[in-house]
């Protein structure tokens, strides 16, 4: 047995749906325009989340401490011989010197990341690459890639296999090469490395170990992984915050427009409210009806905008949002961030878009609904 209160809601919804259909042109236009505004906002939120996720996924596998040498405040190559002085520190489990660099391929103008992996050991003439890189260059195992060394000579590397990438970024831009090939390509002399990386036993000892590193190597800078995570997050939060700030202008404009439309309810709508009240609807029934109307419209726009935003993440280089958020990625060849749609992001979007619309349309409707029903009798 359904309680009469629930049935009352069901009847009012039953009235609202055909009522919306009666004004389908106006309502469709509102859903489309509002849906596009939500699409812009949702694109920023989802893409920002995707890029942050990509970056943090890469960081998650990094060692706890990176040691860089500084000279005149700038990062400089570090002697491999400095490694024992930091691995001796109590609490450091292991350490190694890293060889990595950005490499711009003169043939394609793409900037790639060259890394000498610990494992597997590669022969001097071998390389590994991500599947996206191999696909883009139409390469398969056994093919030869010619890269230019730092002296301008050509270096032939045979594709020995594919890297299993953790992120789309790695798949598109990461090359694994041997140490000799690396030094040939970027011109880093034997005995020098890009930085040192350390694994520690207990994360709570990180600040103490960092202090000891600066004592052992006064011209070095220890970077704790947590600091990198915070920096990445703040960079993306700042970027997305700026764009959301800019996009809130059209959202606000739309809400003001909705308020204005609702405040100046059309003659037909005011007449309808008067008739409903005259034939026995309470003010509460009318407000409920308007709430459901606004709810259906804003939820439809929310669903449309969110779906478009998710779909747009599958379209490479979305022309509006992606360049604004991924300006830094010009260092890399183009890549597709993995779409990340979290409940938190959806809830944030919902609060930013649906609630303001509900308030903007229901409050003026409430004011219209408090008219005396005898207005209808008097024909005013």
């Amino acid at each position: 047995m359904i309680p009469p209160g629930v049935r009352r809601h069901a009847r009012i919804i039953g009235y609202v749906l055909p009522s919306l259909a009666r004004r389908w042109r106006k309502n469709t236009a509102v859903v489309v325009v509002y849906g596009l505004v939500i699409f812009l906002l949702a694109s920023v939120v989802f893409l920002s989340q995707s890029l942050t996720g990509e970056s943090l996924a890469g960081l998650a596998r990094e060692p706890e401490i990176i040691v860089q040498k500084l000279s005149a405040g700038r990062h400089e190559l570090i002697p491999v011989g400095a490694l024992p002085s930091v691995t001796r520190i109590v609490g450091v489990r292991s350490g190694r010197a890293r060889l990595w660099a950005y490499y711009t391929d003169p043939a394609t103008r793409e900037t790639l990341a060259l890394v000498v992996p610990d494992t597997p050991r590669l022969d001097a003439g071998q390389m590994l690459a991500g599947p996206e890189f191999l696909r883009r260059r139409s390469l398969s195992v056994g093919d030869v890639v010619h890269l230019k060394t730092h002296t301008g000579a050509s270096l032939a590397l045979t594709v020995a296999g594919a890297i299993a990438p953790a992120t789309a970024l790695e798949s598109a831009a990461l090359l694994h090469v041997s140490a000799p090939a690396f030094r040939d390509l970027v011109g880093i002399a034997d005995g020098l490395a890009m930085d040192l990386v350390l694994r520690v036993r207990n994360a709570r000892e990180l600040p103490t170990i960092a202090t000891k590193i600066t004592q052992a190597l006064p011209d070095a800078r220890p970077i704790i992984r947590g600091e990198l995570v915070r920096t990445y997050k703040s960079v993306f939060s700042w970027r997305s915050g700026v764009i959301i700030g800019v996009l809130l202008v059209p959202v606000l404009a739309f809400i003001i427009f909705a308020w204005d439309k609702a405040a100046g309810l059309g003659v037909e709508e005011r007449r309808e409210i008067g008739i409903l009240k005259a034939v026995g609807w309470e003010t509460g029934d009318v407000i409920l009806m308007k709430c459901y109307e606004a709810g259906v419209v804003s939820l439809a726009a929310f669903a449309l905008g969110t779906a478009l935003a998710v779909a747009s993440l599958a379209v490479p280089r979305s022309p509006i949002i992606v360049p604004a958020l991924t300006g830094w990625s010009t260092l890399y060849p183009s890549f597709m961030p993995t779409a990340t749609v979290g409940a938190y992001q959806v809830a944030t979007l919902f609060c930013l878009t649906v609630f303001p619309y509900l308030v903007a349309t229901v409050i003026p409707a409430w004011r219209a609904a408090t008219i005396d029903p005898d207005m209808v009798m008097r024909g005013s």
Binding site: R8, I12, P18, E272, W281, E282, D374, G379
Partner: protein
């Protein structure tokens, strides 16, 4: 029985355009009777119907329904009384365009929370009773004036009210349709409903159906008439 005691209704009180639509009206309307309110435009007939039908509250004075004062009740209770007790037929019919005749008739019953099938059945019965069963699925803007008014009557009856209130019901009807309307009213009277009709059409207030004619002018009852 509906009792009005020294009822006054002032619109736009305190503003330059303030006017008193009703001034000290006292009247008793017995149940199961047909009462006509007559008088020129601006005499206060429509305002009196609004107050009797709980659509508005008097500025002063009291209105009682079967001995219970209703004029001071909060909106929620007043609406409930309006929905259960009164059915309205408006001068302009006031049907909602874009909806079918059946949907228009169902509207007053939606907030009652009655099962949908019951509401639909009641609405269909009212339309059949008024010879409109063939027009149930027609949009109201496609109906003739007479059909539209019968839909308005069906809507007034859907909640089975004890009192039917009609304001200038024949204003937009020709003589034949006006007579047809009065026949419908006669049938409702035979059903035991109370009728209160405001009109300055002699076809209404001189009809044999009418038990009592109340004459109004300038917001006052100038002749309370006689009747049951």
């Amino acid at each position: 029985m509906i009792t009005l005691s020294d009822v006054t209704k002032v619109y736009n009180a305190g503003r330059p355009n303030e006017f008193a639509a009703l001034r000290g009206v006292s009247l008793t309307i017995e149940g199961r009777t047909a009462t006509a309110l007559k008088g020129p435009s601006g005499s206060g007939k429509t305002t009196l119907l609004s107050l009797i039908g709980s659509m508005a509250r008097p500025t002063s004075g009291r209105i009682a329904l079967d001995g219970t004062v209703i004029s001071s009740l909060p909106e929620r209770f007043l609406t409930e009384i309006r929905r259960r007790t009164f059915g309205f037929v408006f001068q302009q019919f006031n049907l909602i365009r874009g909806l079918t005749a059946l949907e228009n008739v169902m509207i007053p019953a939606y907030p009652t929370g009655a099962p949908l099938e019951q509401i639909r059945r009641q609405a269909r019965q009212r339309l059949e009773m008024l010879g409109l069963d063939g027009k149930a699925a027609s949009k109201v803007e496609w109906l003739s004036g007479g059909e539209a008014q019968r839909v308005a009557i069906a809507r007034a009856l859907v909640n089975d009210p004890a009192v039917v209130i009609a304001d200038e019901p024949t204003a937009h009807l020709d003589t034949a349709l006006s007579r047809e309307f009065m026949e419908i009213m006669a049938a409702l009277r035979r059903d035991g409903r109370t009728l209160i009709l405001a009109s300055h059409d002699p076809l209404v207030y001189e009809s044999a159906l009418i038990d009592r004619v109340v004459t109004m002018r300038d917001g006052r009852v100038v002749d309370a008439g006689t009747g049951p």
